[in-house]
Amino acid sequence: MNQRTRPRYRVFQWLLLGVAFAAFSAAADPEVAGIIKSVEGSVTITRADAALPAQVGMPVYQADRVVTGADGSAGITFEDNSLLSLGPSTNLNIDRFAFDTTTYDGAFEITLGKGKLAVISGKIAKHQQDAMKVRTPASILGVRGTEFVVEVGGAK
């Protein structure tokens, strides 16, 4: 009897540990990557399987996906002063954002899956070569500054 219940008890212990860890991870305050500064038409932020309508003042985090509708556009400022502008029918994934305000070390990586994007890079790209990357389905852009536009899925 005793020997039979012990393994089950152990599984329960592991489960409990897992739940505690998940709760701890969720409680750890994620670092804000940027703030939405303008929204026009339909703009949605997808975060951990939830789709939230974007609003001016809303923070964005690493791993968020920003999707604009056919009538949509959005402007976002990032903690390192990078500026992004998304055109209509665009989807953009914030793959990675880390920025140390004392040393200016960091990483800023995004993926443009579709649509149009205008960028003015900030302190991360200026401080460290190869720290800012923009991925598209066909290419990887190593950004050393400063202002540029990207299009994916154009007619040409």
Partner: protein, 196 residues
């Protein structure tokens, strides 16, 4: 059924080939400076963009360099460029020697700075403290942060939302006027207020 599926697949494959990813490097609209972008194709090829309006097109296994005329740029990307958030702006305030207190002239500038802040949508403020090179690196890291915190407290007192202020101390790492170590320099005892 199989023919139809094959047809659909062919359309997908053709569509995949027909799309080209483009990137165009622009001169900075304020300084006119041109940066650099290294464009690497996932299926091979590489182009370094380093001149104004340089364009790279990636697709079908290669990367091609080109130049886009400003008229086409305006037509194709005018809306995205116009919708870029307003550029961050920064203000410089100066501190008394070895202290976190602002000079009287700098203190008087705070209300005007606050006006510029509140004009922007969802405004954010970053306050960055700096020091001259008198004292150790550790001492100056602490002093620079204390300077930034003192300015933050002033802005909160003037009514700015404290949740939107971030402070940082850069110590003696970023002098406005480069000096040897242990040289007092009033122009380096400063606090930068960055508004986004």
């Amino acid at each position: 059924m199989t023919a139809r599926l094959g047809c659909a697949l062919l359309v997908v494959v053709l569509a995949g080939c027909a799309t080209t990813d483009r990137v165009i490097l622009l001169p900075d609209d304020i300084s006119g400076k041109v940066g650099k972008i290294d464009v690497v194709g996932r299926d091979g090829g590489e182009v370094l963009l380093d001149s104004a309006y340089g364009e790279a097109r990636t697709g079908g296994g290669k990367v091609q360099g080109d130049t886009l005329d400003t008229e086409s740029l305006r037509k194709e990307f005018g809306k995205e460029l116009a919708n870029l958030p307003e550029r961050p702006k920064s203000f410089l305030l100066y501190c008394e020697n070895g202290s976190d207190q602002l000079t009287p002239e700098s203190r008087d500038q705070l209300p005007a700075i606050l006006d510029e802040v509140t004009r922007r949508p969802a405004p954010e403020v970053v306050v960055i403290g700096h020091t001259d090179r008198v004292g150790s690196v550790e001492y100056n890291d602490k002093l620079s942060l204390a300077r930034a915190q003192a300015v933050r407290d002033q802005l909160i007192k003037l009514g700015f939302d404290q949740a939107r202020i971030v402070v940082a101390g850069r110590g003696e790492r970023e002098p406005l006027v480069p000096t040897d170590d242990e040289v007092p320099e009033p122009r380096n005892r400063r606090v930068e207020i960055e508004v986004r």
